[in-house]
Symmetry: C2
Subunit: 362 residues, 2 copies
């Protein structure tokens, strides 16, 4: 029996992030780049050249044109989030499976329309959150799920801050209300929220409340904010996201028996391996002058870069549908939706002067 042919992916838009994902598509053993589109043929062509696309790549001078390309199984969509609802729905209607950059939409109502279109057309949708596909993440999850080493989760703290320069703060799409209007919350906060949900087995919190001190630009786009989440049984979490502070991406989870720490959870320091520290039943010596069982470090090798692992998983799911008649995997859109719900709730709390927002029944 012949091996399944690689999934053919088109890149809809030449955003900066598409450079990295293009390389990832090339690296994934079960996917190939088959086309690229920009609003101008010139731009698409030079993007393809600059990123070492195969000669065979079809170059499209409009988004409409790539949607019609009959040779594509799937589209990677790195457009500004305000355009997702239009182009993801159109892609689904053309029967294209969708790898969609985050934030998946400007609010959950829009995302629900996208998911409905995907369901109606039997296509897979997955968002572009790369770190969850790093093999390290499975190890984190293993530790967090271990009643002996970690116990029951009590709190998670996660943050992603990165220092934007003046040009970014003036011109980047992530600070424009009509492009990526969720700003630092939709961009950096997305990862912190996803990490928090992952640690909580994707159970939605009961409430979200923004901290005082969110920073917004003149157009009302969030440049920096923090929030607390709380669950029915007393679990809590904090997230912090910012375009105005030094680079940090920390995840700390504290359980009844153990702790987990990651300092590069979104993008590991190195491409080929990723570390984390754990401690279990740590305590002090008799006089409380030093620790017994302090944290220890663990390192996980990564054969493929995490973004290529993401593409491999996406292409695997598409292959199951295409070649074996499987149904689209609902796990991925369900966690996109939950992440978006928490983004929306925190945004609402920021807008309402730190009011507590309920997520019950969402």
């Amino acid at each position: 029996m012949a091996t399944d042919t690689p999934i053919r992916i088109g890149v809809l838009g030449c955003a900066d992030i598409a450079r990295k994902v293009s390389r990832a598509i090339n690296l994934a053993p079960n996917a190939v780049i088959a086309a690229v589109a920009s609003r101008s043929l010139e731009k698409a062509k030079s993007f393809a050249t600059a990123n070492g696309y195969p000669q065979s790549t079809k170059i499209h001078g409009s988004y409409e044109s790539i949607l019609e390309d009959p040779e594509l199984d799937a589209l990677y969509i790195p457009l500004p989030s305000s355009l997702h609802v239009e182009w993801a729905i159109r892609a689904a209607e053309k029967g294209k499976h969708i790898l969609l950059e985050k934030p998946v939409a400007t609010n959950v109502t829009e995302f629900d329309k996208i998911v409905a279109a995907c369901e109606a057309n039997g296509v897979q949708i997955m968002d572009g959150t790369m770190w969850v596909h790093n093999p390290r993440t499975a190890k984190l999850k293993e530790f967090l799920s271990d009643p002996e080493r970690f116990g029951q989760l009590k709190t998670v703290q996660s943050c992603f801050s990165l220092p934007a320069d003046e040009n970014f703060l003036k011109n980047n799409i992530r600070v424009k209300p009509d492009l990526d209007g969720l700003g630092a919350l939709g961009d950096a906060g997305w990862y912190a929220i996803r990490a928090t949900l992952l640690a909580n087995n994707f159970e939605l919190p009961k409430t979200a409340v923004a901290f005082p001190g969110a920073v917004l630009n003149d157009s009302g786009v969030i440049l920096s904010c923090g929030a607390a989440l709380s669950w029915e049984d007393g679990r809590t979490a904090t997230i912090y996201c910012s375009f105005l502070a030094g680079l940090a991406m920390d995840l700390t989870a504290i359980g009844t028996k153990g702790t987990l720490r990651v300092h590069d959870f979104i993008l590991p320091f190195k491409e080929t391996e990723a570390s984390f520290t754990t401690s279990t039943k740590a305590w002090f010596n008799d006089l409380v002058t030093a620790w017994v069982d302090p944290p220890s470090e663990h390192t996980v090798k990564t054969e493929l870069p995490q973004e290529a692992c993401m593409v491999r998983e996406f292409a695997r799911l598409v292959g199951e549908i295409k070649n074996k008649g499987a149904k689209p995997d609902v796990f991925w859109p369900s966690i996109s939706r939950k992440t978006q719900l928490v983004v929306d709730a925190i945004k609402e709390s920021v807008d309402k002067n730190c009011e507590q927002i309920s997520l019950v029944g969402q």
Copy 2:
């Protein structure tokens, strides 16, 4: 010229923490244990024996008696916080300098009475927060104050959680409203708040607000809570403290240019050295697949355990007053007071269902 004689310290109460501080007094080059008191002579005697006190140590069978001891320069007071206002004032009135366990009082009004008594009697007061005396802390401060390596502070996250067993949760003074009624907030939270203030150059926040999800026992004592603090210029902080989660004591500070992380800020993993990591102007490689300038670790040797550094500093100040006519150092009570103010504000926010509490004008 003869060297000054060591400062003679009496230990008022045989709390568990007094074991460690007794050893620290013995280790400090400029202090000696000269007396110990308990409510029973027997208990004081067996405590002195168990902790290797010098033969010459005077044993007192009541708190009143040690106050009258004319040979003592100072008292270390590890009593439950509800007793501080009485015994610290009585000690001050007897002209004894005071090393006072934290939390310094059950609220700032009480602490102000203690400080007034110390001022009226010209005695030094310092609280028993040990970690700030670790030589590492000066190095942390150096980094946080460096405009090139750290830039301007944007946020601080600090936590101290420790898992209390059933016996603790039933019987320990830290869960009794009439003894250490501030519970985990006054005990564990104290350290997290102090760290936050230290990173903010001891500038009080504008507001404090508790997170939803505080856990209180049947008597209304806080077993676990979190809070956000915010400053006028947009700096923010979160603190988390708990008796119900695994051991963790993390401090993360993010500035415009750099980050600082400490995982054992209250009690270093080892007694003889303490580490922290910093990063400065960290960023990604061109394709954003790895970090350039990831965090690096720094280790600081400690000649003396941090609690002995604390006693040494306290004894030095007392020596300056006793031998050189210096005035008591107001820095230490001022930071105790600020820490207590933030404790009080968070407690008030917990009591008022997460209302924002203003600290302006305090």
